[in-house]
């Protein structure tokens, strides 16, 4: 990394400055490469619900040898909101005892969202003297659901992941008329639908996923329905008005062999396309690779799929 660039050497020759880059560490770690048992997605159905309503959860867990069917997990609601001093998504207490256990289950579970959700993780407060919590940029509040997944191989520590149920709460710090209008206009989020993955070889030609040439570059397309990029009302705290936004959608790509050109891709709010593409370079050996594709919308909805691709 820390080398003199040719231009820098020329600069020296010309009596100018020697300027070389700082050293940026290369971990050799791709987010899209699965080299250990990982939780890739926690799907909550419905993705948005009121406290007291039931939701179901499901997991996508993948190991280097492929997706794990019905992985065993210990589930719990996070019961401790994070402090203002905490920068992450959840309170550190939710890694220890600050949870409300749901139980152990394989693959997923069903549970009723705690009734205190809007007080603990939303904007509602017991007293007008208490500062309401801030929403995210989509106006949402989220109740963390912890999944502690045991590595089926028995090696290593359990993998901890958090899914987030978007909770329906009253608006805080909003005039009553706007709050009423918001309640009337807002439509809850639904999970997007990931349409079948399309594949073709780069440069043309269809790609049969069970017979991909070694080292081939395969263009994969993940698509969703037009209605999956939902429009939704947001109470904009800056303008103190209700505005309408459209969901962005992003796709996370994972593989157990070969490599993706990009780890993530997607469409921003202003992009009308209903697909995103990525290039997967097949391994140079004959083997079966497991590709995982996770589609997420801006309000916490998700869908996922796994496919096997065999190189010959």
């Amino acid at each position: 990394m820390k080398t003199l660039s040719l231009l820098a050497l020329v600069s020296v020759a010309l009596g100018a400055a020697v300027l070389v880059p700082a050293c940026k560490p290369d971990f050799g770690e791709r987010e899209s490469f699965v080299d250990r048992t990982e939780v890739l997605a926690v799907r909550i159905e419905p993705p948005e619900a009121k406290p007291g309503e039931a939701v179901t959860t499901s997991l996508l867990v993948v190991s280097p040898s492929g997706p794990i069917d019905a992985p065993a997990a210990s589930w719990a609601f996070c019961a401790t909101p994070k402090l203002l001093t905490e920068n992450g998504s959840v309170s550190a207490a939710c890694l220890a005892g600050g949870v409300l256990p749901i139980g152990d289950a394989r693959g997923g579970t069903a549970a009723v969202l705690p009734a205190s959700g809007c007080f603990d993780f939303g904007p509602e407060t017991q007293s007008a003297d208490v500062r309401p919590r801030d929403p995210d940029i989509t106006g949402g509040y989220y109740l963390p659901i912890r999944a502690r997944v045991t590595d089926p191989s028995g090696s290593g520590d359990p993998v901890t992941a958090f899914g987030f149920a978007r909770i329906v709460c009253n608006l805080a710090n909003a005039p009553a008329d706007l709050a009423a209008r918001f309640s009337a206009e807002y439509e809850r989020n639904t999970n997007p639908t990931l349409l079948p993955i399309e594949a073709h070889l780069e440069g043309g030609g269809t790609a049969a996923l069970d017979s991909i040439p070694r080292g081939a570059r395969v263009v994969l397309r993940a698509s969703w329905r037009p209605e999956d990029a939902e429009s939704y009302a947001v109470y904009d705290v800056a303008s103190q008005a209700i505005v309408t936004h459209r969901e962005s959608l992003r796709v996370s790509w994972f593989t157990t062999a070969g490599s993706f050109e990009r780890d993530r891709s997607g469409r921003a709010e202003g992009e009308p396309e209903t697909f995103t593409e990525n290039v997967w370079s097949a391994p140079d050996e004959a083997r079966t690779s497991h590709l995982s594709i996770v589609l997420r919308d801006a309000r916490g909805g998700s869908a996922f799929a796994t496919i096997a691709a065999t190189t010959r």
């Binding site: 987010e31 001093t85 998504s89 407060t125 919590r133 997607g266």
Partner: protein, 828 residues
């Protein structure tokens, strides 16, 4: 007269030649002496018009013993002798006789630019047994402060005359364009000309502050100043007594003031006097230089930027200087460097300019009008096909100040200075991490006046009274996460996205501080005591006490916070070489306007407080070699920190539960200019800690550096100058990551942290060298070429700890490798 005592004509004559020759040498070389332009004309040296013969000590005379006493004589602008001290003793009898005689001397006063001026001379009084009476010799080693008030501190610039004729040293005439600022007990002063030659500063005078004792090493590409374990924002920077927001441009590569307009720079890391306040940390004082007569200037360029200055004499009474600078490093880097350098060390585009005009109203009465301005701009975008990974940043900061400084020095040395000022600070920060924006805009109008009157009450006491006022009227808009911008004490890792919570607020504040103050310099024999006190009355107003809800009218607030800050310092001279010092003071700091938001902060924040205590010793080993050791202890209370609650009360996101302490010892071994060489070794061992009120244990302060060592050396050889700088510093503390969890909504890992600030970035050391050569291109034109090579050993210093996306791997970002900044400047 028989065998009468007389001044030794031979020695006196030799020294007189030295006095005459030295200014011309300095002028020809274009050398700043004492931080001032040598071109400033000493139009007349003080002339002895009434010589009084000393009474030869009878015993010595009988024994045929001859001797010489070197005296320091302070001469008022009237020509009368104001004070006489012994600089080099020849024994008690000879000393007493010489002092008694010198006190009766009368001079024609010195003149600077044809105006009578107070002066300080070094006078060698020789007792010889001769028959013939030679005429009295002229003085030697003239120091001409213009105008001047009596200085209570030892004048470290004054050197006793050599016992025998010696070649003239370059630093013998000192010209000051204004009353010298009071010397603080813990002050380190660097002359501009020396500072310019320090390796690693690229000729920037003010960057030398980073190498002074008590100053922690700032992160690369950072202009932060951390002194004695205080937060960067707790240290105040003044130019001619006027507060400015920062000493350096945002990159830390350059200071915001042209070096050729700087006379001297003082660093006071703590326990400063009553003239200054509003900060819990240290003090940096920059004095602009007096403008020379005639037309002078320079044009310079190097890898970082280009700059120019021109000063001219518009009339007999009016002189003006204009300077400007424009950076181009960002464009040079884009040509010669890998693009990823900007990911870690973004280089803003900076520019600054200054205008200074001096009007001589009457004798010893001047008005300086100064306009300062500087801006920094940075725009960068890291695009990504993933909308959640796109990052962008646009940052603009700038300020300007306009001030008028009126100075009046009476015949008896009483000095009045009044400096009204006005200006604006602006800061616009827009960042976007994926979909979540972060914005902080601050636009402040700053105004005030600093006034002081120094009066001498007898020979032992002088009293200074003053008024220091500052008003800051700010309009602020902020949106984004509470955790961005970060605060000291935040637990995060480098590059970690801020929380995705989103809030917004706009508010206005007005903070006015009126601070009358007074202190006295009391000289009690070898002890000088300076008691003082400062009374700060802060009017703190805000437009909003609670968050805005629709069109509901906002409820503002207004309150008065007061603080009395006693200050005390003392210096005990145990002889001409050894002195002990001690200082104590309490300090207060108003909340920052951006912390008074009812959404992001707390409108009810009060003053933060600190107490400084220092004790030290200074030893003059030789006339130019000195050693200092200072121990310090600071305690800080009511520091503003984030609330630790999950759901704090409304408009209470920040609290004043922070406590701090720092303590340590610093040493400075300093060689003043001697045979073309100067340098220093500074070392500080310290500890700075913070805790939340009620916590049992302390944690390391985010900028804590227990060991900081700087070695600076420079040697002139003819027209060549060589310099080197070595720095060693402990790494800043960091909080280790001991695990991670997966956030399935944002598709990223969050770190799980270990004990806060329990590990450190590896220690830093670096060697920089500098070489320059000057070429005379005529009578008054000079070309200087220089090369300033940083990190000559190409050491891979760690600047930050970073983690892989899953936090399973830890590594380091290393700083810039070998960099040569090559430049040239043409002086005329």
């Amino acid at each position: 007269m028989g065998r009468a005592s007389r001044i030794a004509a031979s020695a006196g004559l030799a020294i007189a030649i030295a006095c005459i020759v030295r200014p011309s040498l300095a002028q020809r070389a274009g050398t700043d002496v004492g931080g001032q332009p040598a071109r400033r004309k000493v139009t007349k040296l003080p002339k002895l018009t009434k010589f009084v013969e000393a009474e030869y000590p009878a015993d010595a005379k009988a024994a045929g013993v001859e001797a010489a006493v070197v005296l320091t004589i302070e001469i008022a602008a009237t020509g009368a002798v104001a004070n006489v001290t012994v600089a080099q003793s020849a024994g008690a009898d000879f000393d007493a006789a010489a002092v008694a005689a010198a006190r009766q001397f009368v001079f024609e006063p010195a003149e600077v630019d044809d105006k009578p001026a107070p002066a300080k001379i070094t006078y060698r009084y020789s007792f010889t047994i001769k028959e013939e009476p030679p005429p009295p010799p002229p003085p030697v080693n003239v120091h001409v402060p213009v105008p001047v008030h009596e200085e209570t501190e030892p004048d470290h610039d004054a050197a006793p005359a050599p016992a025998s004729p010696a070649p003239p040293a370059p630093d013998t005439v000192e010209i000051r364009g204004r009353p010298k600022a009071r010397r603080e007990t813990n002050q380190t002063t660097i002359r501009a000309e020396q500072a310019r030659k320090v390796a690693g500063t690229q000729g920037d005078v003010l960057k030398v502050v980073q190498n002074l004792p008590g100053v922690s090493r700032p992160p690369v590409a950072s202009g932060q100043i951390v002194v004695w374990g205080s937060a960067p924002r707790d240290t105040r920077v003044y130019v001619d007594g006027v507060d400015i927001p920062a000493l350096y441009h945002g990159s830390g590569l350059r200071s915001v003031i042209n070096s050729d307009l700087v006379s001297s720079i003082d660093l006071v890391p703590g326990a400063f006097g009553a003239e200054y306040g509003r900060g819990l940390g240290g003090l940096v004082r920059v004095e602009t230089r007096a403008l020379p007569r005639g037309t002078h200037g320079y044009v310079g360029a190097d890898t970082l930027d280009g700059s120019a200055l021109v000063s001219t004499e518009l009339s007999e009474r009016v002189r003006v200087a204009v300077s400007a600078r424009q950076s181009w490093l960002d464009r040079v880097l884009s040509l010669t460097s890998a693009p990823d350098v900007g990911d870690f060390f973004p280089i803003p585009r900076y520019r600054d300019g200054q205008i200074k005009a001096t009007v001589d109203l009457r004798k010893r009465e001047t008005v300086d009008a100064v306009l300062l301005g500087a801006t920094d701009d940075l725009t960068r975008t890291v695009p990504s096909p993933d909308p959640a990974s796109t990052r962008s940043e646009a940052n603009h900061t700038g300020f300007w100040r306009a001030y008028v400084r009126y100075t009046n020095v009476s015949d008896d040395g009483d000095t009045a200075i009044v400096t009204p000022f006005f200006g604006r600070d602006s800061s616009e920060l827009v960042q976007r991490f994926g979909p979540t924006p972060a914005r902080l805009d601050i636009d402040s109008t700053r105004y005030g006046v600093r006034a002081s009157m120094r009066s001498k009450l007898g020979s032992m006491v002088s009293v200074t009274t003053g008024l220091d006022t500052l008003g800051t009227d700010s309009d602020i808009a902020r949106e984004g996460s509470l955790t961005l911008p970060p605060r000291e004490g935040d637990v995060a890792v480098f590059g970690q996205p801020p929380g995705d919570e989103y809030a917004a607020d706009t508010w206005r504040t007005n903070i006015v501080d009126v601070a009358p103050h007074a202190y006295a310099d009391v000289r009690l024999g070898p002890v000088t005591v300076t008691p003082g006190a400062r009374f700060d009355a802060y009017l703190i107003e805000g437009s909003r006490k609670t968050p805005r809800i629709g069109q509901t009218p906002s409820i503002g607030f207004s309150r008065l916070e007061t603080a009395v800050a006693p200050r005390l310092s003392a210096r005990w001279e145990l002889g001409p070489r050894l002195a002990f010092t001690a200082a104590y003071g309490t300090y207060h700091q108003a909340p920052e306007p951006e912390d008074l938001s009812p959404v992001f902060g707390t409108p009810d924040l009060a003053l933060s407080r600190a107490t400084h205590v220092t004790a030290g010793e200074s030893l003059r080993i030789t006339q130019t070699l000195s050693a200092e050791i200072v121990g310090f202890h600071k305690t800080m209370k009511d520091l503003v920190v984030r609330s630790r609650l999950a759901n704090p009360l409304l408009a209470r996101a920040l609290t004043q539960n922070g406590e701090g302490r720092s303590y340590g010892v610093q040493l400075l071994l300093r060689q003043e200019l001697w045979k073309g060489f100067f340098g220093w070794i500074s070392y500080a061992i310290s500890r700075s800690e913070r805790r939340f009120d009620g916590d049992e244990s302390w944690r390391a302060f985010d900028f804590d550096q227990p060991h900081v060592l700087s070695v600076v050396a420079s040697q002139e050889v003819g027209r060549w100058s060589f310099g080197a700088r070595f720095r060693y510093a402990s790494g800043n503390p960091r909080t280790p990551v001991i695990g991670s969890t997966y956030d399935a909504r944002n598709d990223r890992y969050d770190p799980v942290f270990g004990p806060q600030n329990s590990i450190r970035i590896p220690a830093f050391w670096q060697l920089d060298v500098r070489v320059d050569r000057s070429f005379a291109l005529g009578e008054t034109t000079r070309l200087l070429l220089f090369a300033d090579v940083q990190n000559v050993t190409n050491r891979e210093n760690a600047e930050e700890i970073v983690y892989s996306p899953s936090f399973r791997q830890r590594s380091r970002i290393t700083g810039l490798p070998t960099i040569a900044v090559i430049g040239a400047r043409l002086d005329f």
